[in-house]
């Protein structure tokens, strides 16, 4: 009887246990082509001559769609980078879009964990020269979504290094604020009457 109880308890634990490799493996591979098509359809939208997006009239509407195929920070990145709202309309910024996966060409899809896959594709185009596109897929809320997309340009190119054009001033200013707040906190705590 005791043995039976242990078996039952273990069975139930196995059923309810979240980090269960048997069930996690059932996610299968991410639907690479389908997700890429959805990505293309949401980023390379049809616009009027002045860049107004025909299908969506607000950032919020497009945001909703993007967040259904990618993690939220990534969706925010694409919205901020490639779109803008003017006079209550959605416009696409006049710039070259992100690198797309060529689904008819070779790529490698590597399993990182049950919830994560990494795709790599080497390519070349006129704008960027040789590049490597890396896409991370994450299994979230019961489906596969884009976790990250990075395109790294080959370092073997013989051109010059892009200058570092970020100053440290905002970081120093924020640190100064933190130091000041700490000092103020110490002074307030010191003044507090002891019971």
């Amino acid at each position: 009887m005791k043995k039976f109880s242990v078996v039952v308890v273990m069975f139930l634990a196995a059923l309810t246990g979240l980090p269960n490799p048997v069930f996690a493996d059932n996610h299968g591979e991410p639907p690479v082509k389908e997700l890429e098509q959805q990505f293309h359809d949401l980023i390379y939208l049809e616009t009027t001559e002045d860049g107004k997006v025909k299908k969506y009239d607000s950032m919020a509407r497009l945001e909703e769609e993007l967040k259904s195929i990618m993690v939220w920070p990534l969706a925010d990145h694409y919205l901020e980078t490639y779109f803008e709202e003017r006079d209550g309309e959605l416009y696409m910024k006049e710039m070259d879009g992100p690198v797309q996966l060529k689904t008819d060409q070779d790529y490698t899809l590597e399993k990182v964990s049950a919830d994560k896959y990494k795709l790599t594709q080497h390519g070349e185009n006129q704008l960027r020269g040789e590049y490597t596109l890396t896409i991370t897929y994450s299994y979230e809320a019961g489906k596969w979504v884009f976790g990250d997309r990075m395109n790294q340009v080959a370092s073997s190119e013989t051109g010059g290094k892009l200058p570092d054009t970020a100053t440290s001033l905002p970081t120093i200013m924020l640190s100064g604020g933190a130091v000041m707040a700490l000092g103020a906190l110490l002074l307030i705590l010191r003044r507090k009457p002891t019971v």
Partner: protein
């Protein structure tokens, strides 16, 4: 405890004051004068495609000079933003604190030589509005008594290690670079690139 609190408070105030002053000082390399720029360059918003100037004639060439890093070499004007920027020779940290830097390398040239002119600026100070420029807009570089009119062809974002942007070009090309994202605090992982082609050269702008 009291002394430490006062010391920290004072240090924090000094850090904010110093970085705030430095920030303000660096923004002084930019002169905002949209109205004057729009009057001076009547075709600044004529986004219709203009043919690239393939070479610069001897008449258009200035006497190419050599400069010390940090020395002022010219001006960049972007009517779309309404700003005029001082350009300094080189793109080292000290030069970029002064304003826009002109890249000095074997791949790049000065505006009076057919090739690749690269200008870089900090995203928090001089180039913080660079994302407002559009394809077809005109950028004007004043250099040694001549004004070089470039028309923007493309804008894109690339990673900070990209070595395919600052490369040799046969035809007169201007590239502006700054860090991206614009609202990122700290060293940025990407770069914002604006590339334009020379469409005309005028004496004394």
């Amino acid at each position: 405890m009291k002394k430490l609190g006062i010391l920290l408070l004072f240090t924090g105030i000094m850090m904010i004051a110093w970085s705030g002053y430095s920030w303000w000082e660096q923004t002084q390399a930019v002169t905002s004068n949209a109205k004057e720029l729009h009057q001076q360059y009547e075709n600044w918003d004529d986004t219709a495609y203009q043919q690239q100037v393939k070479s610069i004639t001897d008449d258009q060439k200035s006497l190419t000079k050599s400069y010390q890093h940090g020395e002022e070499v010219g001006k960049l004007e972007i009517p779309r933003i309404g700003n005029q920027y001082d350009i300094y020779w080189g793109t080292g940290a000290d030069t970029l604190k002064k304003g826009v830097g002109m890249y000095d390398s074997k791949w790049t040239v000065k505006p009076d030589i057919p090739g690749h002119v690269v200008l870089s600026g900090h995203r928090e100070t001089v180039f913080r509005q660079l994302n407002e420029v559009k394809k077809g807009d005109h950028l004007y570089v004043s250099y040694e008594g001549k004004t070089y009119d470039y028309q923007i062809r493309k804008t894109w974002i690339t990673d900070a290690e990209d070595r395919s942007v600052i490369v040799d070009k046969n035809k007169p090309t201007l590239t502006l670079t700054t860090c991206y994202p614009f609202d990122f605090v700290g060293s940025a992982p990407e770069r914002y690139i604006v590339q334009a082609e020379l469409v005309s050269v005028d004496k004394n702008g």
